[in-house]
Subunit: 315 residues, 2 copies
């Protein structure tokens, strides 16, 4: 379930005019920006962008970028992009020299469906004039490259079939690799993770837990020091249960010294129209505190208002 | 230019009835089968299949398989499939245990456009309930796996931009790898070949030839003993000039002791509606003999009639 609260009827033209009004004079009326854009779904936002362009002959997103700043700007910017285009931007930012948040690439590629991932690959072409695999592979080497390129290039079968025998065999392959910690089985682990259907992989992960009394993601936790193992861990968690994964990203983002606004924004903007309500419930069960309350203590200003609005807070 | 001669107007129902008539009694009227199906384009063939199913409540392709046999059956069967489905079958046959024609996988993945390759990946899901990368990677290891999985999973950027400096750098990377023959640069060569746009790769290959006075594919020829180098060579040739590549496949198929019917059928069925006329011209220029005449000497019977029909021979 989503957290976004959007009216069933809205006028794109009136919204565009109200935004134009909010931009007037020194400093924008950020409250108005949040009140409008924080309550419109992806289709409505695209309509507003189109109406704004037609009425005022300027790009709404560019104007927003010049009117607002900081975390607020970054969150509104990501929110305004269509989901596939947003993921393309998130991947590009994650692999750009200097940032190297490779686990974000693994996250996006592992959470999306085959067709959704493909839409991101198309969006990446349009925006950067290169392919995702081209940029990912040019910035990585060895097993990390193999894993990430495999994940972003996958077009997984999405049927419900489970091959129980295969699950057992491949649970053992993963076990051998994790046990040895020598890395001579890593190519097989990468093959399994990047090519099998998610249904099959969950069966394999379950089989692993049944046999070894611990989940593969927990087992991997003591090896997540390098980028490869971090990305591997992320992919397994996202395939296994992406809502639980996102809950943990939020938990870590909040409890971090200084707050990880990028992680916080990414999860909330990406999931607000999808399953953020479920993630919120998981958060409450896990932490005995409401996500809104935890977030409220850590961030401030217009950024805080915007994030809380996307979290479904009634005005 | 295509070689297929198909009427602009035809009646799918009359065609279906004529085929049904051809199946009557002991042994099918193969001449009628060739006369109809050898002169229908992909859209018309699908219409005939649909009309046949509706009229006679049986699958035309299954019926054809039971009526005819040998090379003729195989050629008609491949011809009747939609192109993406046909390529899915060709890939599956190529990697099935025992055959291991890995270069066919490299050929198909390298010749197709990004969207065409994607259609093959979808067709493979539908037909085999697995992904191409899943089957390819389960049947290969090491560099061969990396290359083939990279090729079948690629979604190349298709813009016209060329980065001349990058072409120079990567021509050198390829040169170092080919020169050393030690294989410690192969992962970089695989990265370049599987991720760069075809336009960029052609620039890189040209740069290589300019600097070293020999084309990269010729240079690689003395290393094509193993499956990896054979697939690498195929990918480079297909990206560089797929018509020249197909001409050579035909030349080798014909001059081989015993004729390689699979190669012959694959090229003719796959290209008859696309650019087989150009390939025929290349063949004539290279061999001073018409492709139809060369083929005529090597094969016989209904298979020969069918292949010559697809080659554009007037009845």
């Amino acid at each position: 379930m989503a957290t976004l609260i959007a009216p069933s009827n809205h006028s794109p033209i009136e919204d565009a005019q109200a935004l134009r009004h909010a931009f007037k004079g020194w400093g924008a009326d950020n409250k108005a920006i949040v009140a409008i854009l924080g309550h419109r779904n992806v289709h409505q936002r695209q309509q507003i962008r189109k109406a704004y362009e037609e009425l005022f002959e300027e790009d709404l997103i560019k104007r927003l970028e010049s009117e607002i700043s900081g975390d607020f700007e970054r969150a509104v910017y990501r929110w305004m992009l269509e989901p596939a285009d947003r993921d393309a931007v998130l991947i590009n930012v994650a692999i750009r020299n200097g940032s190297k948040n490779y686990h974000v690439v693994a996250e996006i590629a592992s959470v999306l469906s085959a067709e959704e991932l493909l839409a991101v690959r198309r969006a990446y072409h349009n925006r950067y004039k290169r392919s995702i695999e081209e940029d990912v592979s040019a910035n990585t080497t060895g097993h990390l490259r193999q894993l990430l390129v495999g994940l972003v290039s996958s077009f997984r079968y999405e049927g419900d079939e489970i091959n129980a025998k295969l699950a057992q065999i491949e649970a053992n392959v993963i076990h051998e690799s994790v046990k040895e910690k020598k890395g001579n089985n890593e190519e097989e682990v990468i093959r399994i993770l990047t090519t099998r259907s998610k249904t099959q992989l969950v069966a394999t992960f379950n089989r692993y837990r049944d046999e070894h009394g611990i989940s593969i993601s927990k087992k991997l936790l003591d090896q997540t020091s390098d980028d490869f193992h971090k990305a591997l861990h992320t992919a397994i968690r996202c395939i296994n249960d992406h809502k639980k994964y996102y809950e943990k990203v939020l938990r870590n983002a909040i409890k971090k010294f200084g707050t990880d606004e990028d992680g916080l924004t990414r999860v909330i903007v990406t999931r607000a129209e999808k399953d953020l309500r479920d993630i919120k419930e998981l958060y409450y069960k896990r932490n005995s505190v409401h996500l809104e309350d935890a977030v409220s203590k850590e961030i401030s200003g217009d950024y805080k208002k915007f994030i809380l609005t996307l979290l479904g807070k009634q005005d």
